[in-house]
Structures are given as C-alpha cells and as structure tokens.
Subunit: 210 residues, 4 copies
C-alpha cells in the first residue's frame, strides 16, 4: 500500500503539467473568458497544485501554478475560489483533478434552474464519457448552488449538497457563474469538461425548442 | 478482374491513413467530443481497419488503428461499436469507409424524431454532395434507430432498416447518440460528413423557427 | 485609356492568386462545405479565371484554376455553375471578382423567403462595408431566385432580375442553395463576403426572435 | 508626481503594440468583420494612437497606427470614428485604451433596445471581470445611443449620456452598429471585450428563450 501511495504522488512541476493542459484546452474553447476559471491537480493527501490568482488561464505558465495545502492556511497567491477546489479534495480522496470553467450552456442553465437546485441529464449516449457510466439509460443529477462571494461558506454548502440526492455527474453548477468538474486525473477532467459542454449544449437546445 | 481487385486492396498502413484523415477532420470540427466516435476503412473483402477502443480520435495515431475481420472473431482491441461498422461492410460491398460522429444537430434531431424512425432531407442544393445525387429536387431518408448498448443486436436492426423505405442518404442516426456515415473512400466520407453536418444544421434551424 | 485598360489586365497566374485568396478564406469560415462553392476573377474583357469542377476549395491549388471565355465555348473543366459567374461578367463591366458560397444564414434565408423573391437589408452600420454605401440609413435588396440545375437558364433569369427593383446589394441568393457575391477586386469580394455573412446572421436572428 | 506622469507616457511605437494586440485579438474572434472596428491607446494627455482609416484590423500593421491629437485638428488619416475615441479620452483621464467592435450579440441587442436607450446587466459572476466590480450582486447600465454618420455630433451625445444614470459598465452601444469598450490599459480592454461578448451572448440567449 505504501508503494502504491508513493506512486500516486506528484511533484509541483508534474502536477503543473496537468493544470496547464486543462487550462490551455479550456482557453482554446473559450470556456475561461476574461481571465476567469481556475484549475487544480492533487499532488498528494495534503497538497494540491492550483492556478494562482490573476493568471490568464488560456496562456497559463508554470510559474502561475502554486502548491496549496488542502486543509490549512490560505496560500498568499491562492485565487478567491481556492476553497471550492480544496474542499472537494478533502471530501473525496478519489478526486485527482478539478476544473472550473464558464462554458456558455453551463452558465445559462445554472441561472435558469437555480430555484430547482438541480439539473438532470438523462438518456444521452455521451453520458458514458463520465467515468463509471456504462449505459445511456442513466439519469445523473448536477447540483446547482446559489452564487456567493464568500467562497468558504459556498464550499461548505457545496459539500453538503454533494451528500444529498444523486447519483451525481462529476460536477456541479453555481448559478449565473459556471461549472465545477472533476475526475481521477487531469486527462479524465479534459474528457469530462468536453462531455459536460456537449451534454449541456444539447440539453439547452432541447429546452429552448420546447 | 483479379488485377482490378488487387488494386483496390489496402494494407493496414494505407487504410490507417484514411482512418486518421477522417478522425483528425472530425476532431477539428468538435464532432468526436470526449474521445467519442470511431472510424474505419475497408482493406479488402475480409478485413477493415478500425479505431481501437479508448483512443482520442482528435489525436489518433497509426498504432491505434487495428485490422478487424468483417465476419469472424472479435478483435481484442475492437471498440464496442465495431459491429456497427463491420455489419455495413458485410451488407454493402461498395462501402469503402465509415465514420461515426457526434455532431450536435445529428444528436438533437436523432432524439427529437426517434418515434418517427426517420428524418427526411429535401430540396437543398447540398444534397448533391452525396455521391449519386444530381439534383436538389431529391428526397432522401435518414433512418433513425433507438440506442442500444448491445451493438450486435443494434447492428442487426440497422441492417434490416437499411433494406426498408428509401431512397436513403449514405447514413443513419442512433437516437440521442449520433450519426453513422459511409462512402466509397475515406475522401468521400469526409465530404459526406461535412454535407450531413451542414444539412442537419439547416434542417434543425428550420424546425426550431417554425 | 489603352494604358489604363492594360493595367487592369491580369494573367491567369495573377488572377489565380485572387481566386485562391477567396477560396481559402471561405474554406476557413466553413462557407464551402463538402467541396461546394466556386470563385472567379476577371482577367480582361474576354476571359475570367475560374475554379475547376471537383476541386476542394478550402485547399485550392493554382492548377485547379482555369481560364474560361466570358462569352464562348464551355471550358472542358468548367464547373456546372460557371455560367452564373460568366453572365455577371458579361452584364457588368465593373465586376472584377465573384464568389459563390454556402454560408448557413444565406442558405436558410434564401429558402425561407423564396416566394417573396427578395430579402431586404436595412439600417445596419455594416451595410457601409458594401462598396458605394455611405450611411446605415440605406435599404438594399438581395434578389432570391429559385434553384435550377440548368445553370444557363438560371443565369438568364438572374441577369433579368438584376435589372429590376433595387438598389441592390452586391449579391443574390439561390433558394435552398447559397449566395453569389461580387466586387471590383478579389479583396473587395473578401470584404463583401464577410459583410453578407454578418448581416444575414443578424437578420436571421432578428426574424427568429420575433 | 512628474516622474509618475512620465512613466505613464507611451511612444507611438509602444502604444501601437497595444493597438495591434486588441485588433488582432478582435480579428481572431470575428468581432471586426469586413474591415470594421477601430482601436486606440492613449499616449499622454494630448495624444492617442489610433487605427488609420481603411485598415484591415485583423491583420493590422504598425504603419497603420497614427498619433492623433485628443483635442485639435483632425489627422488626415483618422477614421470617421476617431471623434468617438478622442471624446472619451478628453472626458475621462483614467481611460488608457479603447476598442470598437461589432460583436454579434452587441449588434443585435443594441438594435432591439434602441428605444429604451439602455441595456442592463445584472447578477452574472462575469461582471467581476470589469475593473472595480467585486460581486455578482451588481447592476450595470450600458447606454445605447442611436447611430449617426455625423460622429462629432454622436460623440457629443455619448459624452452627455455617460454623465447620466449609472453605474455604468465600461462601454456603450450604438444601435445596429456595435460596441465601444474601454479600460486603463490595452490588456484591460482585452479582458473587458471578452467579458462584454460573453455577458451579451448570455443575456441575448436569455431574452430569446423567454
């Protein structure tokens, strides 16, 4: 077990490669407009590599990735949304990487369904792109929480909501704000980001055409 | 005739060039989100080159293309959707290449018209992009089959449906899933993919505006 | 005057540069899907450089541009739509270049308004991108003709329609088919293509939202 | 104080770098179709670097950027819209750069809400991309003025409108025409342009779906 654990540990430089891969992909798809969005990769049980505040994620460089304690004092260069990343790592040991993006359909649906507090995805083949899903005959819930500039309070609310309902897709929406999405690795998060954008685009179109 | 036949045979390396051309084109157009989609080129009467399971089609490499028997034992690296490709080759000797993509209008229309079991394209000049069509005054049927994770059963259903109705466009839709499209060569499939995406985008817009 | 005239004459190689510039720009914008579209530049009073039949315009090469007589025998490699280009050069000496593209809003509006036979653009600042327009307080007509596989007959109809109504934008629509657009030079046609696509996208959106 | 002032002065060559950065970014996003749009960077209290008339902004070169007096005689190569840039610099000393773009949602909303004379943005997280905004619980006004080919008269109207109502987003709309957007530096204007395009796209979609 000790060996297995060591083999999963990443240096900051290694983790920053995954952070940059997610950030550059999201930038190319216009999912992090106006320097928004942030990205992280777990280094081990105690640390995660995070995008620093103020960085332009579409052109992120290694020096703009910091190592933050998952539970502990705030890093001086941490972005305001760092607590939302770190709380997820603290709650779910299987999470290895997290992306926060402002994809247009995510932003629109998050605001439209804020009162319901949840958006449901059902019946699409592309649900199988989410790790662990083996059939389109699946209904997944995406929790929606109200936006809040107090991100410590918001993180507490999110973690409470993740314990309710379900089964959940690997993500949640903040109303009028955007999408958080996670996976075991940065590569899996790349796949999950693209799946969410496709599924939410399709679902938004279906709603609008009704 | 023997010479003619030999001249149409392709090595795995040659066929893989066509598979990669289709995959990279579809990737650049965002038609294979989240590692979805698959592509194949017929090598001869008995074999077809297919994308292996798990590959990221937008960045497909030659080593991710396998030679599968059209009728015979399943290749260990074949994707779950291999039977849908192979059944088409077995049914129609003139088919030389096949693409499966998740273009957004294909996915939306396939789900909206699942009960009708067919989508009709009529009157567009771009119908002439389909091999054999010489005038816009044409009505082509695109069969729609329900989605099914048992792809052997789904392939049998599809081949039965291709024998009914018509005339058919060179493709069919799987509800909530995506589009299969074929042609004599990989180059023709590139043209057919782009024609389907354009025609289905236009048709979807017309329906939504009604 | 003789000098002036000579200075306006272009060799096939010179004219092909303009043809390729228009074709590559349209390809990058997905306005010539599935090898559709065609482009031309006037060489002198008698000849025009035209895209040959069957070429993929997004990747057009110089060898795929032919010199066709404006009035005379059909060139063996001329595309089926060559008469529509040549008739415009014969009718209007000021036309130096022509593009035919399948932009999505052009295709949709051409079919929606086929019965009216005309689409009107009014009040947009970008109308000033059309040569000779100096204010947004302008109403321009874009004629719409029914589609016809007999392009000699269609060209005759188009030239008759250009003599009616107006003032005209530098283009016309063929129903369910696409847009023809012209200008004094290939560079001007690049500007006119982009202006039409923007204006028709905006106008389509306004109609749909009503 | 004198030192501070000197450190904020830019040579024409330095200012042209900012002008080109904004123009190339806007070109890549198709916000300056058909050679439309224009860009400027303040050099000091008296001068601003401006795109010259007739330039293709997507491919702007340094030689197409001129130094114009903020208050004074018109530069012979100034574009027709130069007064709209210069009046903003004269009114607000904190403005260091200005962009004028024709983004599609800006153009559509400017025409739809011309009679109201204002468009309101409220509740979106991305409002925080505008300098000085610290919470999504913000309502910003975007003034809309009627289009006018007399840009001296239009500039006077705009500056009067900027003194009314508010708080204002860092931009205004000209009906059926496009968006003006400003900031302290060219880099800030890049962020503000992208924020406006995202926010207006989202707001337009919400209106259309009602």
């Amino acid at each position: 077990m000790a060996d297995l654990k060591i083999s999963r540990e990443l240096s900051l430089a290694q983790a920053a490669q995954g952070v940059m891969a997610m950030a550059h992909f999201a930038g190319a798809r216009h999912w992090v407009p106006a320097t928004s969005g942030n990205f992280s990769v777990r280094m081990d049980e105690k640390l995660a590599a995070l995008t620093a505040t103020g960085a332009d994620k579409a052109h992120l460089t290694e020096g703009e990735v910091i190592a933050a304690e998952i539970v502990g004092a705030k890093h001086p260069r941490a972005s305001a949304e760092a607590p939302l990343h770190l709380a997820r790592y603290a709650s779910e040991p299987a999470i290895g990487a997290i992306a926060h993006i402002h994809s247009m359909p995510a932003t629109l649906l998050s605001r439209r369904h804020e009162k319901a507090g949840v958006f449901r995805l059902e019946g699409w083949e592309l649900l199988k792109a989410f790790s662990g899903v083996t059939t389109h005959e699946t209904l997944l819930e995406v929790p929606i929480v109200p936006n809040d500039q107090d991100t410590d309070r918001l993180a507490t609310l999110v973690e409470a909501r993740m314990g309710e309902g379900g089964p959940h897709a690997p993500g949640y929406l903040i109303a009028g704000h955007g999408l958080y999405v996670w996976g075991a690795t940065a590569k899996e998060v790349l796949r999950h980001m693209e799946a969410f954008d496709f599924l939410l685009t399709a679902a938004l179109h279906e709603e609008d055409a009704r």
